[in-house]
Symmetry: C2
Subunit: 435 residues, 2 copies
């Protein structure tokens, strides 16, 4: 009787998508689906819950334990709500290794959870586009994946003034560091961690960390130089490196395809995770107020080997979150004013005409492919018009007793305010339906 | 080095959607979206995690504690993975009570989890279409909701031989039981529970339960009679009942709209949950091997009152799971053989022609709206054709050194096996693009 009221806020870091927000999300993911399908990528999906060990094995301990929502089910299984899609897709590829026809061109748009402090662009629940090509070892797949990202951005009307794809290569990185500083593999790996943090720490601290790893002042200066070099000059330092050759081939192809205006060689792109092995890239928002990486990815070899003995299936791909994408589209004015269908008809009603007469009109329009509904309830005509305007209807139909007698309907265009009377039988024709 | 391999199976009761399965799901949910949008329903969505108390308040203890995945987060909040959508949508409606323009016509297709023994048609993770109208108290909203269910089924090519909408009314149920047995509200509620279980227990047990609630043999026989009655005869028992009037109005409108062939009055439709207050319905599969309720719903008054003091927003709606729908479509042969675009082009490649020439061809086709990709890798021509056939490509493009010199491309139709040579510049025109 006097139970306490429940709060209406969604859980911290999650969002309610009311129809307005949902239309926006459906619009941009719809465009992305269409671009990817035209490039012969195929959509897949997997479960929201996975075994926790899947993340420990691939993403490293931090993501697995600190950043996931994890719990034990009643069958004593350690589960996690997926914080990312890559382990799931690697598991799926492994599960049908012998049936699938490689190379695979796959994408997915799953919802996922990360346990983190919420801030602008970072929420606990988000949707993430994942695009991957599995089973092609050459730079050609890297190129296709990067092109798909450019095509997606272009499909929203974004141009080279708005975004830049910054590209590096982990193999090249390792080789060039070794060439400059004569380091072993492990030291090179530790240096990559320092360089990855470069923009987040003071210069002093950065240099101190590199000195500690045995680098000289001259070597640090030579690394600095790499940031300003063209891909040609940078790769000339270690021309025999496979990574250098991949980088050159990639940039040459981008040039010939007239896509190099969107792309930049950037020695500072590392991508923290250890599993990247070749091309790495990040797509930056060029807006001064938001100049940072929106999303990125790269080549990771053989995650499938976690599941299948002696399997060697390489992959290359990226993940793009809905929150950062939406910020980008809003910042650059790329969201259209309206997404709905141009024609949307509300059949208004009077209490003295049986309801099914109105519903029959709406059903006829629906069958002709015209979006239509009947006002539900018994509010006055003015309130019904108000409802139509708020609901972004383009037209209202009016059929009172007198129209019913003469077999006509009044159609009011809510934009022009024009009113037309048509024979009820001509209704579909009025809305230009050719069914 | 010798780490143990991870299993490739998904978590119990969940599914991996490989591209084939995903295409099927996208196909049927795409059709549903289109039907609902044409009827001016708007899509919404909400978070996967909700406060556990939301389910305890609405769905009753059993769903809240036994059937949900629930856990405590690091902020000591009791959370549940949503087992159903209605509490979320009631919370959302309550959250914007004063901004929304009622009546609302809303739908959503969320994924959700229930902790249960898995069996045919019942999994732990599933997707569920939810359709609801909020803010209209009359049978008119019930009718619109039922019609949307019929339209969805019809859009798949299902006809009246394949499914039946079985309809009852909880208000009528209460009134007719009171009229027959002169029971009070609580006894009527207990009788409804017995009748809800009728088909799951032996006749003896059913009668024993009703005797225990004070019913006589004659009263039980009169209840039995209701199962065979037309809606006209049944409602004549308590003509003054609001529920009886709603039922009559609903069936009369269905008759006039030529939809009564899909519908049947069925006194046995109760729907277990206590929160239903008026019209209730279930859509049955008529196939003899699968003759059971696929999905259902009804009118539930004032769930919004759990959140907002003195709020009175009634709702009517239903939920339809992807698993049962897919079973239905497969059983009745309503799944098309192929969903993809008719034209899908694989650009094959030779190692002596630079990759970007091939990619440029694919990009031109993509920009003309034709689905196209380049074979990635360096397998022999025969293997590339095999890949095209497995991937359901309709055409392959062939451009070797000699074609490159003469500015031509060979196009092979994989269905007719016909081969055509066209000028490279005529490529888009060949595929009938008018861009």
């Amino acid at each position: 009787m006097c139970a306490q009221l429940l709060p209406t806020q969604p859980y911290k870091g999650t969002r309610d998508f009311y129809p307005d927000e949902m239309r926006l999300r459906n619009w941009f993911f719809g465009k992305i689906r269409s671009v990817l399908e035209t490039s012969a990528f195929e959509e897949y999906n997997g479960p929201m819950l996975e075994s926790l060990e899947l993340y420990a094995a691939k993403s490293g301990e931090e993501i697995a334990t600190k950043q996931t929502y994890n719990f034990i089910d009643r069958g004593n299984r350690m589960l996690a709500i997926r914080p990312e899609m890559t382990p799931t897709v690697a598991r799926m590829v492994a599960g049908k290794m012998n049936e699938l026809s490689f190379p695979l061109r796959w994408f997915s748009i799953p919802n996922m959870y990360r346990y983190e402090a919420t801030q602008r662009g970072r929420l606990r629940e988000f949707w993430q586009l994942n695009v991957d090509i599995f089973g092609c070892d050459t730079y050609e797949a890297d190129l296709e994946v990067i092109i798909s990202a450019i095509q997606i951005m272009k499909s929203f009307g974004a141009d080279e003034s708005m975004f830049t794809v910054r590209i590096n290569n982990r193999r090249f990185f390792n080789d060039v560091i070794a060439a400059i500083a004569n380091t072993d593999t492990e030291t090179t790996r530790l240096i990559s961690k320092v360089i990855d943090r470069k923009n987040k720490v003071p210069r002093d601290a950065y240099e101190k960390d590199l000195f500690a790893l045995g680098l000289s002042e001259d070597q640090i200066r030579r690394i600095d130089d790499l940031y300003c070099m063209s891909v040609t000059d940078a790769t000339a330092i270690c021309p025999e490196s496979t990574g250098a050759q991949e980088l050159r081939a990639l940039f040459e192809a981008l040039e010939k395809l007239n896509l190099s205006k969107y792309c930049l060689f950037d020695f500072g792109i590392i991508r923290g995770l250890d599993y990247y092995t070749g091309t790495v890239f990040e797509v930056f928002d060029n807006a001064p107020e938001n100049n940072r990486a929106m999303f990125g990815g790269g080549r990771y070899d053989n995650l499938v080997g976690l599941f299948v003995k002696n399997a060697k299936v390489s992959g290359v791909g990226y993940g793009m979150g809905d929150v950062t994408l939406e910020n980008f589209l809003v910042t650059h004015g790329l969201v259209p004013e309206s997404f709905g269908s141009a024609v949307k008809v509300l059949v208004t009603k009077f209490d003295d005409v049986p309801f099914e007469h109105y519903l029959a009109l709406a059903n006829r329009l629906r069958e002709a492919g015209v979006t239509a509904s009947v006002y539900l309830g018994s509010k006055k005509f003015g309130k019904q018009i108000e409802h139509a305007v708020k609901g972004e209807y383009s037209h209202v139909l009016i059929m009172g007793g007198s129209e019913l007698e003469t077999g006509t309907v009044k159609i009011k265009d809510l934009n022009t305010r024009e009113e037309t009377t048509v024979a009820a039988a001509e209704l579909e024709a009025f809305f230009g339906s050719n069914k």
